[in-house]
C-alpha cells in the first residue's frame, strides 16, 4: 500500500481555505482498498484500475503522474466522488463512498471536494464572479454569504478586480485562477486538479503554482494529476500510475 507519510497540516484559523466549522477525523482523508474499475467496450472490457491500495492524509500535496491511459483520470474521478469503483472500497474521511447513492456523492462533491480542470471549464456567458458563485449554488447559503465567499475566493487568487469580466476577457492563467477560486470558494477539504497547467505557458504556470502553494500552505489537501515535472516537484508525494496500478516515486 502506498501509505501517507505526510504530517497533516492545519490551515490558519478562520481565514484559510479550510472551513472553520469542519473538524478532521483521525482517519486518513482517503483510503482506497483493492479498488478496480472496468469499462465496457466494443472489443470487450477495459481495465482502468487494477487493484489500487492507497491512503492520502489531510494536508497532503500529492502529484499523480504516468503515461496517458494509465488510469490517472479514472483515479481522479473516484477521488472526486464522480464515479464509484467496480470493486474494492473507497473511504472518504472514514466513510465508505464506494456504494453511495448519486445524491450522496453530489453532496460530498458540493461541500468537501473542489475540482480544477485542464481546460478551466468556465461558463463563457457568466462573469468571473458568477462562475465562482456557481460552485456555491448547491450549498444553499444566503446571498450575502455567497457574495462574501465569492469575493474572498477571487481575492485569494488575485482577481478581485476582474470579478465582472467574462472568461473571454481573461487570459488563460486568469481563467484557471477563476476556476481555482470556484473550487475553493466552498472551502473544501481537498482540491483535485487535472493537469491544471496543461494549457498554460511558463509564466502563467508559475502563477498557478504560486496559488496552489499558498493554498497548500494554508492546510488544504492537494491532489494534482500532471505531466509537468515543475508541478510534480512541488508535491510532497509523487505517485506513478501505469497500467492501472499505482506506485510511489521517491522524492
Amino acid at each position: 500500500m502506498a501509505g501517507g507519510a505526510a504530517e497533516p497540516r492545519r490551515g490558519p484559523a478562520g481565514g484559510g481555505v479550510m472551513d472553520a466549522t469542519q473538524s478532521r477525523s483521525a482517519a486518513p482523508l482517503y483510503r482506497l482498498t483493492g479498488v478496480t474499475k472496468s469499462f465496457a467496450g466494443r472489443r470487450g472490457g477495459v481495465q482502468g484500475l487494477a487493484g489500487i491500495d492507497l491512503e492520502i492524509d489531510h494536508g497532503d500535496f500529492v502529484a499523480i503522474q504516468g503515461p496517458t491511459g494509465g488510469g490517472k483520470s479514472t483515479l481522479l474521478q473516484l477521488l472526486g466522488a464522480l464515479d464509484t469503483p467496480t470493486s474494492g472500497e473507497v473511504e472518504f474521511e472514514g466513510a465508505s463512498v464506494a456504494h453511495a447513492s448519486p445524491g450522496a456523492l453530489a453532496k460530498i462533491r458540493a461541500a468537501e471536494i473542489g475540482i480544477v480542470f485542464q481546460a478551466f471549464n468556465l461558463i463563457p456567458t457568466l462573469t468571473a464572479a458568477e462562475n465562482v458563485d456557481m460552485g456555491l449554488e448547491p450549498l444553499r447559503l444566503t446571498r450575502s454569504e455567497r457574495d462574501g465567499r465569492v469575493h474572498d475566493a477571487l481575492t485569494r487568487v488575485g482577481l478581485a478586480e476582474r470579478a465582472s469580466h467574462r472568461p473571454g476577457e481573461l487570459s488563460g492563467g486568469q481563467q484557471q485562477r477563476v476556476a481555482i477560486a470556484r473550487a475553493i470558494a466552498k472551502r473544501p477539504r481537498v482540491l483535485l486538479a487535472d493537469e491544471p497547467t496543461g494549457n498554460l505557458d511558463e509564466a502563467m504556470r508559475d502563477d498557478i503554482l504560486a496559488v496552489l502553494d499558498a493554498l497548500h500552505a494554508e492546510g488544504l489537501t492537494l491532489i494534482v494529476v500532471t505531466h509537468d515535472s515543475a508541478v510534480a516537484r512541488r508535491a510532497r508525494r509523487r505517485l506513478r500510475l501505469e497500467a492501472g496500478t499505482v506506485s510511489e516515486i521517491g522524492l
Binding site: R109, A111, I113, N121, M134, L139, K186
Partner: protein, 429 residues
C-alpha cells in the same frame, strides 16, 4: 435562441392561420348577409327541379302585329318578360305561414326570385318569294348571321336583371333579404305598396342604369315607379337583387300565382336553430332547408375557394407547423444539451445534483418556450394585421342558374348585352 425563434415562428403561423380562418368566416358571413339576410338563420327553398322539369326555356312570343316594320322590311321588336328561375322549384305562399307557426321561429318572410329579360332588336324581312310553309325554323343562336334558308342579318340584344318580389308588409322585419340593406334615396317598400307598380332599386344597378327616384323602369312589360334606392349595409357585398317589387305584383306578373321561391326564417336563439330546422324539414318535406354554412358551400367564386382553403389547408398547415416546431424544438434542445456536455459535466463536478441540472435545463427550455410564445403572439398579431391590411376582397355568387342560356342569380351582376340567344319568333302568317 434558435428554439425560441422556432417556437415564435410556429406560434405566429398558427395565429396568422387562425386569424385568416376567422377573417374568412367573418367575411363569408358578411358576404352572405345580403344573399341570406342578416338576421336569417335558415332558408327554405323549393326543391331543385330535375333536368327537363320546370317551365322550360324562356320564350319570347311575338304576335303578328308585334313591333314595327320599316320600308326595307326590317322589323323592330322589343319585349320584356318576367320569369322564374327554371332550375328552382317554388313553394306555396302558405309555406310562409307554416314556417312562422313553428315553435322557436321569430320571423318568416317570403320572397319570389325572378329574372326580367328584355328582348330588343331588329329582324330582317324574310327572303322574297320564299314558301312560308317550307321555310326552315331558324337555328338557335343563328339569327345574327347568314342562316339556313337564306334568312339572316338580324341584330338584337337580350338584357336581364334580377327581380325580387318582397312581402311589402314584412319588408322591414329583421329577417329576409332587405334586413341587410339601407335606404340611400327615397324610401323602401312598405305595407301601402302592396299591389302597386312601385320598385326599389339596388344602388349599383341604379347607378349603372342611370335611374333614380321618380324614374320609371319596365318590369315584365309594365312600367314601375322607382320609389327608392337601396344599398347593402356591408361594404363588401351587393344587395340580394337589382330590383325589388311587392310580392303580390311579382306573383301576378310572373304568372306563378300564390307562390314564393324562398322563405327566410329567423330562429329565437342560436341554439334553437337545429330544432327549428328539424321542425321545418318535418313540416315541409318537399322543401330544401339550408343554414348559412350550407349556403356557403354552394356559393361559388373566391368565397368558397377561400373557405375551402382555410378549412382544409389552414387546419393542416397549423398541425404541420406545430408538429415541425415541436420536433425542431426537441432536436435543437437535444443538440444544445450535447453541445453543453462539458458545461453540464462541470456543474456536476462542482456539486450540482442530477436533479438540479435537469431542473436547470428544463427551466431554460421553459423560458425559451415562453419567450418564443410571447414573441410568436406578437409576430402573429402583426402578421394578422398585415393580412387584414392586404386582405383580398371576396365575393359571393349564387350557384349557376341557367336561364335562357344565361346565368342570373341573386346578388349577381349577371347582366348581358347583345347576347345571341335561343328564341323563337312567331312567323307572320
Amino acid at each position: 435562441m434558435i428554439v425560441a425563434v422556432g417556437m415564435a415562428i410556429a406560434v405566429a403561423l398558427v395565429i396568422v392561420v387562425d386569424a385568416l380562418s376567422a377573417g374568412v368566416r367573418d367575411a363569408q358571413r358578411e358576404a352572405l348577409a345580403s344573399v341570406y339576410g342578416v338576421g336569417t338563420d335558415l332558408t327554405v327553398t323549393g326543391a331543385q327541379a330535375e333536368p327537363g322539369e320546370g317551365s322550360g326555356m324562356p320564350q319570347f312570343d311575338f304576335g303578328e302585329d308585334a313591333g314595327s316594320t320599316d320600308e326595307d322590311g326590317t322589323t323592330t321588336l322589343s319585349q320584356s318578360r318576367l320569369m322564374p328561375d327554371i332550375a328552382r322549384g317554388t313553394l306555396e305562399a302558405s309555406t310562409v305561414d307554416a314556417a312562422a307557426g313553428i315553435d322557436g321561429v321569430v320571423a318568416a318572410v317570403g320572397a319570389l326570385s325572378l329574372t326580367n329579360m328584355t328582348f330588343d332588336g331588329e329582324l330582317p324581312s324574310p327572303p322574297s318569294g320564299a314558301d312560308e310553309s317550307a321555310r326552315p325554323e331558324p337555328a338557335e343562336g343563328d339569327a345574327g348571321g347568314p342562316a339556313a334558308g337564306g334568312f339572316g342579318g338580324g341584330s338584337f340584344g337580350i338584357d336581364s336583371f334580377s327581380v325580387l318580389g318582397i312581402d311589402a308588409a314584412a319588408a322591414t322585419q329583421s329577417a329576409g333579404p332587405l334586413s341587410s340593406t339601407a335606404v340611400e334615396q327615397g324610401r323602401g317598400l312598405g305595407s301601402a305598396d302592396a299591389g302597386q307598380r312601385v320598385a326599389a332599386l339596388d344602388a349599383s344597378y341604379a347607378s349603372s342604369e342611370g335611374l333614380s327616384v321618380g324614374d320609371t323602369i319596365e318590369v315584365g312589360s309594365e312600367e314601375f315607379s322607382v320609389i327608392g334606392v337601396l344599398s347593402s349595409t356591408s361594404s363588401t357585398a351587393d344587395t340580394a337583387a337589382d330590383v325589388y317589387i311587392p310580392l303580390d305584383v311579382a306573383q301576378e306578373l310572373s304568372g306563378l300565382g300564390e307562390a314564393v321561391s324562398t322563405v327566410y326564417v329567423q330562429a329565437a336563439a342560436a341554439d334553437a336553430i337545429g330544432d327549428v330546422r328539424s321542425a321545418l324539414e318535418e313540416a315541409l318535406p318537399d322543401a330544401a332547408v339550408r343554414s348559412q354554412s350550407e349556403l356557403a358551400s354552394t356559393v361559388s367564386s373566391s368565397l368558397s375557394g377561400a373557405s375551402a382553403l382555410i378549412t382544409t389547408l389552414g387546419t393542416w398547415l397549423s398541425v404541420i407547423v406545430l408538429v415541425v416546431a415541436v420536433a425542431l424544438a426537441v432536436l435543437f434542445t437535444m443538440s444544445g444539451i450535447s453541445r453543453r456536455t462539458r458545461e453540464l459535466g462541470t456543474l456536476k463536478a462542482i456539486g450540482w445534483s442530477n436533479r438540479r441540472i435537469v431542473g436547470q435545463v428544463t427551466s431554460e427550455s421553459v423560458v425559451q418556450a415562453v419567450i418564443g410564445g410571447v414573441g410568436g403572439v406578437a409576430i402573429g398579431l402583426v402578421g394578422a394585421a398585415v393580412v387584414a391590411l392586404i386582405a383580398p376582397t371576396i365575393s359571393a355568387e349564387s350557384p349557376a342558374q341557367p336561364v335562357g342560356g344565361m346565368r342570373a342569380g341573386r346578388g349577381s351582376r349577371a347582366r348581358t348585352r347583345s347576347v345571341r340567344s335561343c328564341f323563337r319568333r312567331t312567323p307572320p302568317s
